[in-house]
């Protein structure tokens, strides 16, 4: 959050400017008004502003052009070219490494009771549509986004400048447009699953028992266990950050946005994106390689009853009870 500090510095700078102006007034007291010698000096302003922008009046409507010098760009450059690259590299590569280690050490989580042959509906068509809409958008957004940070380092030497520029231009376009799909997906997901994602006592128990990821323990869980709920809320939080900061970047300088706001938005967008990507990598792992019988939940929508009992015992109970009144929701034999 170095940037947040920088943001605060901007504010401090503005205050300092106000002080400077206030201080300038007495020197211009009627005794000897001498604009030549009391001229505003660059160094003075830079010192007073502590890295904030030096701004003045311009007659053209583009008011941001009134920023004469904004050394803050330097911090942003440092962030974008160094900090963010490291954050991204560590988060993503680190997650991949972690998952690999986990995979080799723990291996996939098996259905202990073996497949029952009976399946039950876990996610209906709409739920799956929303998930995959969001997921597709996320993957494309992630890749096109990573291109901005890593493309010139990884792809450019391979593709050559012209091809890379063409790819990047389309990538940018796609990134901008798919943001709408992603936004819709996230909103639907929020509405669709919020009711089953409020934390409760079961979750505390689940967490206490480490979710059963390690060892053979299987703490009870409803439709979503505490880990999934955490993912849900992290996705909601992360997506909100991505969407808000993303639209700020897509509509720059609207509604009185300052350059500092936008720089801050890119910081959020970049950092959250890297963490988000890392987190989703873990999610993908658990939904595919990491757990037997998990993928089909989002694939076909149904899961094996034994899988369900193992991971979401309470949910199975709920469904069974509900099944009495709603035959459609009942578990049915696999064909």
């Amino acid at each position: 959050m170095a940037k947040l500090i920088a943001q605060l510095r901007f504010i401090a700078g503005a205050l300092a400017l106000a002080v400077l102006v206030a201080v300038a007034a007495p020197t211009s007291a009627p005794a000897q008004v001498n604009p030549t010698t009391s001229a505003v000096k660059e160094q003075q302003l830079l010192n007073a502003l502590q890295g904030g922008a030096i701004s003045g009046r311009v007659s053209i409507p583009d008011q941001k052009s009134g920023n004469l010098i904004q050394p803050g760009g330097r911090d942003w450059r440092q962030f974008h070219e160094v900090t963010l690259v490291w954050i991204g590299a560590i988060a993503i590569l680190g997650m991949v490494a972690l998952l690999a280690i986990f995979y080799f050490w723990r291996g996939p989580v098996r259905i202990e009771a073996g497949r029952s042959g009976r399946t039950m509906l876990r996610f209906n068509g709409f739920e799956r549509f929303v998930h995959w809409l969001t997921a597709t958008c996320f993957i494309v957004l992630g890749l096109t986004g990573l291109n901005i940070t890593f493309g010139k380092r990884l792809l450019l030497p391979v593709m050559g400048p012209e091809a890379f520029a063409t790819w990047s231009e389309y990538a940018k376009l796609v990134h901008n447009y798919l943001s709408f799909g992603f936004t819709i997906g996230v909103i639907l997901m929020f509405l669709m699953w919020i009711s089953v994602n409020f934390p409760n006592a079961t979750d505390a128990e689940w967490i206490k028992r480490g979710g059963g990821i390690v060892g053979k323990d299987h703490p009870p869980a409803s439709k979503f266990n505490a880990g999934q709920k955490l993912l849900y809320w992290l996705v909601m939080l992360g997506a909100t950050a991505m969407i808000v900061s993303g639209y700020m970047l897509m509509f720059p300088f609207y509604g009185g946005m300052t350059l500092a706001n936008i720089e801050l938005a890119t910081v959020f967008h970049g950092v959250v994106a890297m963490l988000f990507v890392a987190m989703i990598l873990a999610h993908i792992y658990l939904g595919t390689l990491g757990m037997e019988g998990a993928f089909e939940a989002m694939g076909e929508g149904t899961v094996d009853v034994n899988w369900a009992k193992q991971h979401h015992s309470l949910w199975v109970e709920e469904e069974m009870n509900r099944g009495a009144s709603d035959p459609k929701a009942m578990a049915r034999p696999a064909e």
Partner: protein, 198 residues
């Protein structure tokens, strides 16, 4: 080899905007794109100073560093130029630029930007010198004709200096020592990490 720089002597700048329209004239810069602009500090108060600002052609240019597609290049005269063919209009150079130099034509809906445009120190771009393509994309290439940027050449009070950094620094130093005051070489510390010692 000369190291080209701009220097605006704010004690001479009267915000006449000749630099701005000279630039428009020389390069047929469209409405809404301001390769150069004049900012007035402490407007209306004693100590008011105006400074003409454009791309300063920084040493270790931040725009070049942050560009995701590496469109920037530095000429032998240390002029920072860019290729519009490779630009994707992401706006990052504007975020990094300490001087607000990069400009974007507005294209399409929402905030989508066209290819970045900025001061070229009247040195065109990667195309052949003074070719039609170069003129259309970047404007005139005066340096190739042995001339310096028109903004400085037409400056009403000889406030805006352009040329070999050592020479213009010398001129500025002499001015300051002769007249006894100087508000500083605006932007030099930020752009070139140096100040003119007086």
């Amino acid at each position: 080899m000369a190291r080209m720089k701009f220097l605006c002597d704010a004690d001479r700048c009267i915000e006449c905007n000749a630099c701005v329209t000279a630039c428009k004239n020389e390069h047929e810069v469209p409405w809404g794109i301001n390769r150069r602009r004049v900012v007035t500090l402490n407007d209306g108060k004693p100590g008011e100073r105006s400074v003409s600002m454009a791309c300063m052609h920084c040493t270790d240019a931040p725009c070049a560093a942050v560009c995701p597609t590496n469109v920037f290049y530095t000429t032998a005269d240390a002029i920072v130029l860019h290729s519009k063919d490779l630009c994707i209009g992401c706006g990052y150079c504007f975020y990094a630029c300490p001087f607000g130099a990069p400009q974007y034509p507005k294209v399409g809906n929402f905030g989508s930007r066209g290819k970045m445009d900025k001061c070229t120190f009247c040195a065109g771009g990667p195309e052949a010198d003074n070719s039609k393509e170069e003129y259309e994309k970047y404007g005139a290439n005066r340096l190739a004709e042995g001339k310096l940027p028109l903004c400085a050449e037409m400056c009403s009070t000889k406030s805006l200096l352009a040329g070999d950094g050592d020479v213009i620094a010398q001129i500025y130093k002499e001015r300051v020592s002769k007249r006894g005051y100087g508000s500083g070489a605006w932007g030099w510390q930020t752009a070139y990490r140096e100040n003119i010692a007086i």
